[in-house]
């Protein structure tokens, strides 16, 4: 009995030693030749496998590796909660000699400001916030432009005066802007349609996202749109035989033709440029807010379910936005109560858009919880 036990323990010990030769080699390869490389770290709120928000950030990271090749080394950490824990993770990368750190969610802003002050020689890039420092920039995109275009598609896909469900994360300006732009698009082609909003108070929670979509579907909405990190709301709509509008990535690829179109992100070009600037020493702090014109926000390919007529309409509107002859929040824009917020002939300033805290006419829901 005792002998058997000794053998068992010996095997447990020897097995790892015998097997890890393969693993060790890989580790060695990753570590070698790293001295000269520009090291970039990404902090993710969810998983690259969410097929949405983090997936697209990670596509951008991969593009850095593809385009800058040997000059850079990138890594990422996933599932980092917003709040005090984030500052530990960001600080650890700064300490380990990473040259540039991307924090890819709004709630990392204050922790990043805190760490950026401690490491003046490290470049910090924060997505979707509003605080910057000499060594901390912020980057984001005018997603509202693509949202508006997707609203046109959605408004055409439902009957006159029917309602759309919108699964939304937090009542912060970024999300509010998206809801409003989408609704403006919907009502342009379907003037009596409404958009019902449900807040999940989370960016990434597949279960909650699905539950919110199901609740909306139960209330009789005919189409699902969303501002979340995963494809769950799209799947919930598809299971009911209904169509949806995606977000973040080309969700039609992952879910199916029921996703009519998706406003999506394309970070790679911006990432490559800002990393290259840092390598060259020409990096300066900035607040990047690119739009359809710059390609950082895009509209995905259409599902076969979308008619040529709708595609042509979207194409015409997209052209106007890209050439600058019109934009989504140009007056007249009416608030939920019907009062004019942006007068006819005036344009909403970037600053007002970045702090948007009202809902437009046609949205059912409120900013309070």
């Amino acid at each position: 009995m005792k002998k058997a036990l000794v053998v068992f323990i010996a095997v447990l010990f020897i097995l790892p030693v015998a097997l890890f030769a393969g693993g060790a080699k890989e580790q060695g390869a990753a570590a070698s030749g790293g001295a000269e490389k520009f090291k970039v770290a990404f902090i993710y709120i969810g998983l690259p496998g969410d097929l949405g928000w983090t997936f697209e950030q990670d596509q951008g990271r991969k593009m850095i590796e593809e385009q800058l090749g040997d000059k850079v080394e990138t890594t990422f950490v996933e599932n980092v909660p917003e709040g005090p824990d984030a500052s530990r993770i960001i600080r650890q990368y700064a300490q380990k000699g990473y040259n540039m750190i991307f924090a890819t969610s709004f709630g990392y802003m204050d922790p990043m400001v805190e760490v950026a002050a401690e490491f003046p020689n490290v470049y910090f890039e924060h997505c979707s916030g509003y605080k910057t420092a000499d060594n901390m920039a912020t980057y984001f995109g005018r997603m509202y432009q693509a949202r508006y275009l997707s609203g046109l598609v959605a408004g055409k896909a439902i009957g006159q005066g029917e309602s759309i469900g919108y699964v939304a994360a937090f009542p912060i300006p970024e999300v509010v802007r998206g809801i409003n732009a989408f609704t403006i698009g919907v009502r342009k082609v379907n003037p009596t349609a409404t958009v019902k909003v449900v807040w999940t108070n989370t960016w990434y929670d597949p279960v909650k996202e699905r539950e919110a979509a199901v609740a909306l579907l139960d209330s009789g909405v005919k189409l699902i749109a969303q501002h979340q990190d995963t494809t769950e709301p799209q799947k919930a709509a598809q299971e009911r035989g209904l169509v949806s509008v995606g977000y973040d990535s080309d969700m039609g690829k992952f879910v199916g033709d029921s996703v009519l179109v998706s406003p999506k992100w394309h970070w790679g070009s911006y990432f490559v440029k800002t990393v290259q600037d840092a390598i060259n020493g020409t990096w300066k702090t900035h607040s990047y807010w690119g739009g359809l014109k710059d390609g950082v926000v895009q509209l995905s390919d259409f599902s076969p379910k979308v008619s040529q007529e709708v595609k042509d309409l979207v194409g015409a509107e997209q052209k106007k936005i890209i050439d600058g002859s019109w934009d989504v929040f140009w007056g007249p824009v009416k608030g939920q109560d019907g009062k004019v917020v942006v007068a006819d002939g005036s344009k909403m300033a970037d600053g007002d858009m970045l702090g948007m805290n009202f809902l437009v006419e046609g949205v059912v829901g409120s900013l309070g919880n």
Binding site: F13, L15, E26, Q27, L47, G83, R88, I172, G368
Partner: protein, 359 residues
Amino acid sequence: MRLVFEKRNSVSKKAIILVPVVSFLVSLILTGILLIIFRTNPFVTYASMFVGAFGSWINFTETLVKAIPLMLTGIGVGLAFRLRFWNIGAEGQLVFGGVAATWVALFWSNFLPPFLVLPTAILMGIIAGALWAGIPAFLKVYLKVDETLVSLMLNYVAILTAQGLYYGAWIDPNGMGFPGTKLFPKAAWLPRFSGRAHVGLFIAILLGLVMWVVLNRTKWGFEVKMSGHNPRAARVMGVNIGKTIITAILVSGAFSGMAGAFEVTAISHRLQQGLAIGYGYTAIIVAWMAQLNPIASLFVAVLMAGLLVGGDQVQMMMGLPAAMGIVLQGMILFPMLAGSLFTDYRLKIITKSTKEEAV
């Protein structure tokens, strides 16, 4: 052939030391096998976990940041468990303590002299934690309601109450709609002594020592022990068990409430998401691993915190998925907890012909 557990008549000194060491080795081996499956060198991984948690002073301060709430909640939960009062509610008590401290920091600062803001905030956190723990205690003593369920359910009530506040009534008007209260005034910040490690550490250590003395050298401590170990004998000796339970659970909740007050005043400086991240549940593991001993809880809390902080490295440096960090933590704890079974019991293999003892 059959396997039976037989309670050991006496626990040998050797077993007390040997069992944890062997369990730790077993957990390293099991985890090592898993790491190899993921084509990662276990030795490098362990080394990077250790370095991440204890390798430098700065890393160690981050481990302490997590250890402080674990110490306090671990001591508090341990006290309740001595009475066989299954307080699963440390998480909610911690959150409620944080809410009460926030209330003081946000709304009393204008009325109180600055030097009183912080002590009042922490005191209110302690009281709130105690009261929150008091609910299951009173229900148990006077109405015989099961405390496990009540204390567990109250966690959700506390967490959702806190959310209701920082999403709604207490939301920072300049926070662009993002959930969270505004920053506390500086008068309500608990001082940090290095990195983010704060003076709560010294208070926690002091309270751990005090608790040990109280439990082992006072009448009340004796009554707690008696009431938990042998309630009938305690009653015969004239101990008022109900009163003992209520006082002990109020103290238990006070520890967690203080942990919550420290978290908001020293770490986040506001009430926001990220307060309820499981300290109150990890406290249960801390209390058991420390065998309900408050001084041992201090050390176990540092180890557990090291495991949590070191777990980050698995992702950051070894490039393993986030879930692996959590799996590793579980794989390391499991044999440790299973091991404690063997300190108190022996495994017997009974065959038809012979009766042979194993291990």
